[in-house]
Every structure is written in C-alpha cells, then in structure tokens.
C-alpha cells in the first residue's frame, strides 16, 4: 500500500511524467533535446517546460508578472508625462528612456527602514501585505494561454472571480491594521467602491458565461471564433469600467487618491512593505487584463506561428493583455478623479442598468446558441 503510494509519487515527479506534457517549441527543439539528455539539467528543463510549471513560472506566472509590473509602472509614468508635456522617468538608464526606473525604486525600497508605528496592529500590519499575495497570485494558475494552463477545471472562471474578489477584503484589513486617519478614510472608500463595482463586474462575467455556455476558460477561448467584445460589447464595457474601479485607476482612483489621503490604506507603510502594497493594484490589473483578454479578446487565439508552436498563443495573449493594460494606463493622463459619491452613483445606477442589459444580451445569445 505504502510502496504503491511511494511509487505513484515517484512517478509523478519523474522526468518522463513531465516530458509527457511539455511545451513544444520547434524553433529551439534541438537545443531542448540536447539539454534533456544532460542528467540534472535535463530534469530541471523538463520541469520548467512541463505545462503547469511553465504556466506558474513563465506565462502567465512569475516571470511575465514581474516583467509586466516593471514595465507598466514605468510606462504609465512615461505616457502620462508625455501627454502632459513632461519627460517622466529618464535619468536611470538614460539611453533607454529610464526603463528600469521601477526596478531602481524597488531596490531603494529594499534598503529603506520598515517603520511599524506605535498604534498599528503589529502582526496584521506586517503579515497582511505578504498574505495578500495569495489572492493576487492564485488566479494566475487558472488562466490558460492556449494549452498551457496551471490547473484545468470547468469552474476556472468562478474560481478566478471569487479569488480576485478577496483582494479588497485584504486591503480593508490592511487599512484597519494601519490604524490612522488617512488609512481609515481610504479603507472606508475602498469598502464602498468594493460593493459598488463588484456587482456589475460579476454580472458582466455571468453574461459572458451565458454567451459561451461554459465557465471553463479553455473552452471559452476555443469557442471565440468571433471575439466576445463583438458578441457582447455591453458586457465588455461594463467589465472594462469595473476593472478601472477594481484596480483604482483614474478616474476611479478614490481609495488611494495620493493627493488627498496619501495612498489611503497604505499610508503608514514604508520601505519594502510599501513596495509590496503599492504593486497590488498593478498585479490585480494584470489579472483582470488577462481575464479580459480571455473573455472578450479571444485569449490565445490568433494565427498560429509554426516555428513557435505552443508559444504562439502565449505571445498573442500577452499582446492582448498588454493592449488592455496600456489602455488602462492611458486613462490616468486624461481623467480627473471622481468624488466618492459620484462614483457610487455611477456604479449603482448606470453601471447596474448596463450590466443588467449585458446579462439579457448574454441570455439571448445563449438561447440563440451563437457561440
């Protein structure tokens, strides 16, 4: 009995098991084959190229997430500066236009002191910025890029939406643990905004589930011969606006509002802790952009590139995600901030109405069996 279990376990972590389900890239296949023959390196290469591990480490997981984070923070500042007739980050790596500014800032955060002030609830204050990475990173496992997916399940979409919905709860907890006036105001705003955008957001996702008749993301991508944004543009609009609200971008940058309440729930953080909490919104933005590209832009669909094999959908999906993120970053430079009451009125009246219409369109398409 035990021997069988041990045998099963060994089989599960064997190189052959990984090689059964590997990312195939015809362009560098000879190199991979050679590497696989080397004893230890071969095992590591097989592990990395094992599809679930590839999803976790390369795309949409860790590596892409880090790259996107470093890029989008720089890009947002640069684009906003350009539109506002300024220069933006420039001096660090000047010939590349200061592209590693975010990395430099991150390094600086590392060497700054993390101050835990007297009134803070110390355990929560320190733990929550780290624990928040569970709901931030977990959804990445369920998002497919072609055949590359961490966990394949028919309930992927509800799982992702549920986990993403947990993030504001952590932010509210962070604000509570900070125990200061600005954090209090910011937390209240975050809580209000959470309720306001969550319902239209979920309704738009429900509309898309109705359109495709399934919640399995791989199936959703396969069914999108016509992209979802054309099938149900109303749902796409609602999803986009609630993404802006959820990631607190302008014009809905109400909980953070650095000019008014100095980053709201995160006001008391310093050093690397601030670096961690500051990137939460960007990570959430990345996940929601991935979700948007899966639901509305056809995910990894695109004309295949034979040389790249399994990497082609990855590239298409990455480009679509970046397009959504750039659109989100672009809004920062042209919009002013809504007041809390204006944003709440907008989401509880107009957005709710439009999302109901989106669900109706989704139901009609479900009955008509379009997708």
């Amino acid at each position: 009995m035990i021997m069988e279990a041990v045998y099963e376990l060994l089989k599960a972590v064997s190189k052959e098991h990984f090689m059964e389900n590997m990312v195939s890239i015809p362009l560098i296949q000879p190199v991979i084959d050679n590497l696989l023959n080397i004893p230890l390196v071969g095992y590591v290469v097989a592990l990395i190229l094992w599809k679930p591990m590839f999803a976790l480490l390369i795309f949409p997981g860790l590596l892409t997430l880090m790259t996107v984070l470093l890029f989008i923070i720089w890009f947002e500042r640069k684009l906003t500066a350009r539109i506002q007739w300024r220069r933006g980050p420039l001096e660090i790596l000047r010939w590349a236009g200061g592209i590693i500014q975010a990395l430099a800032d991150g390094l600086r955060y590392f060497f700054q002191e993390v101050i835990v002030h007297r009134d803070a609830h110390k355990p929560y204050f320190i733990q929550l910025p780290i624990l928040i990475f569970i709901p931030v990173l977990l959804p990445l496992l369920f998002i497919p890029a072609g055949s590359i997916v961490g966990i394949k399940t028919p309930y992927a979409l509800p799982v992702v939406v549920a986990i993403v919905s947990l993030i504001p709860v952590f932010i509210v907890a962070i604000g509570w643990a900070s125990n200061s006036r600005f954090a209090y105001v910011g937390t209240i705003r975050e809580a209000f905004m959470y309720f306001a955008y969550e319902i239209p957001f979920i309704l738009s996702v429900v509309a898309m589930i109705l359109v495709y008749g399934t919640a399995d993301m791989t199936a959703i991508v396969e069914k999108q011969t016509i992209p979802g944004i054309i099938l149900n543009p109303v749902a796409a609009l609602v999803f986009f606006i609630s993404t802006i609200m959820a990631t607190s971008r302008l014009p809905f940058e109400i909980p953070e509002a650095d000019q008014e309440i100095a980053f709201g729930p995160f006001v008391e953080y310093s050093g690397i802790m601030f670096g961690l909490v500051m990137t939460i919104a960007y990570e959430k933005m990345y996940i929601l952009a991935l979700l948007m590209s899966v639901l509305f832009l056809g995910g990894g669909n695109g004309f295949p590139i034979p040389l790249l094999g399994d990497l082609a959908p990855v590239i298409w999906m990455f480009l679509k995600t970046m397009a959504v993120m750039v659109a989100l970053a672009f809004l920062r430079s042209i919009y002013a901030r809504f007041r809390l009451d204006q944003a709440l009125r907008l989401s509880w009246t107009t957005m709710l109405k439009i999302s109901a219409v989106a669900v109706l369109i989704g139901a009609a398409l479900n009955i008509a069996q379009v997708a």
Binding site: W85, R87, I334
Partner: protein, 241 residues
C-alpha cells in the same frame, strides 16, 4: 444667495466630450508638445542683460560706494583692500539679484553674467569677498544645446546645437571725468569730514593767513562723490572736467 446653474450635458454630448478627451490624449501621446528643457544638457537661451552672478573689475572701481548705498537688500559690504581703496563684496545669501548695483556703477566695474547656478556648501560660503568676484566661478558645462522659447500663439522650442556664452561682452562705458569742487568756500566750516571721507586723499585743508581753506587735487580726485554726500553744509558738488 446666487445659485450657479451647472450645465448638465446630455448623453450624446457627454460621450462626445469623453471621445474628445481621449482623442486629445492620443494626439498628445503620438506627437507631444513639450516645454521642458533638460537643464544640465540643454540650457535656456538668456538675454545678455540677464541678472545673474555679478563680476567685478577693480581697475574700473572708483570706490564711490554707490552699489552699497543702492542695494535694497543690504547685501553689499565695502571692504578696505590692501591699496587703501574700498571695494564691494556681495553676500549672496542676502542678494535678491535686482542688479541695482550694476546699473548704478558709474565706471561699469560691476557687470552682469548669465551664470545662475552656483552652488554653495553653507551660508558662510555664500559671502563672496572681492577676490572671488573678479573671476567667474568654475562651471562644468554639460550642455550641448541652447533652447529658446518662441512665444508665438503656441509655445515653440527652438533648439540650436551651440553653447551660449555665459559671460556676455559688456560695452565699455564712456567714463565722464568729474571731480569735486567747492562752490561756496566762504560757508566752509573746515570740519574735515570730506578730508577723512575721501578714499584717495585728494582733499586737504590748508591754512592761509590763519584761515583754513579746502584744497582739492583734481588729478587725484576720481569723482566718486563721497565728499559731496558727506559735507554737512552741502557746498561741494561734482563738476565735469
């Protein structure tokens, strides 16, 4: 109380306004106008009369104290130098760069430069003695371009690949030779204030028949006018020679 009616745009107009904002953003993202000068690498073109760091030429100075008198910030201190003359020294912690001193200088001993980026370590160092005012401060020129703002309807930046000379040539002013003279010798009190105030020892009091008389050496007089200012009965004035 007057209530201001806020005009509420209808939906079509609203969408139009949003699109307009988005289009403006895209336009600026593609082809941005810019009014930023990358300062150490580019310098803004400045007119020759720019009020910057002040340079001093001791040869032209007649120790007239005009700069010190006129300074509204009281930043100029006249210090006695080795040759018994008084020369100005500027405290840049007080200076407001009005350049009244430069304008008031009769011999153009003080002159303006375009240097506006001098760094001091502390407040004490900001006091600039006369020796340091003769030569311009050490400048590290990183700039390759000179940028000029052309204020037409829109602001246009004109970049020229050349270095602006920070120390402009000052036309030498024609110095009108003046000297002090006493026009009412009978009123003279012979108090000797003019004698002690003269920086060039051009005035002396001579006793003639038991009557004290003022004697002004026109060759030694620089026409600084200090004695004119100091005379208690105001019988001295400057005359053109």
């Amino acid at each position: 109380m007057i209530k201001i009616k806020v005009r509420k745009p209808d939906m079509v107009e609203n969408i139009k306004l949003h699109l307009d904002a988005l289009l403006t953003g895209v336009k600026e993202a593609v082809k941005p106008g810019t009014i930023t000068i990358e300062y150490p690498r580019e310098r803004r073109w400045l007119p020759d009369s720019f009020r910057g760091y002040i340079l001093f030429t001791p040869e032209n100075c007649i120790s007239c104290f005009q700069c010190s008198f006129v300074c509204p910030a009281n930043a100029i201190l006249m210090k006695k130098s080795e040759n018994n003359r008084y020369y100005p020294s500027i405290d840049y912690a007080k200076c407001i760069f009005c350049h009244f001193c430069v304008d008031s200088c009769p011999g153009s001993a003080l002159r303006q430069t375009k240097i506006h980026d001098v760094v001091y370590i502390d407040l004490d160092e900001m006091f600039c003695p006369t020796e340091n005012m003769i030569n311009p401060p050490e400048i590290v020129r990183e700039d390759e371009y000179t940028v000029e703002y052309l204020m037409d309807l829109d602001i246009i930046l004109k970049r020229v690949k050349e270095r602006d000379d920070l120390i402009p040539e000052v036309k030498p002013v024609e110095i009108i030779k003046e000297y002090s003279s006493c026009y009412e010798p009978d009123s003279c009190l012979a108090c000797g204030i003019c004698v002690s105030s003269c920086p060039n020892e051009a005035i002396s009091i001579t006793s003639l028949d038991g009557e004290k008389r003022l004697k002004i050496d026109a060759d030694r007089c620089t026409g600084c006018g200090i004695c004119v200012k100091e005379c208690p009965v105001q019988i001295l004035k400057l005359v053109k020679g």
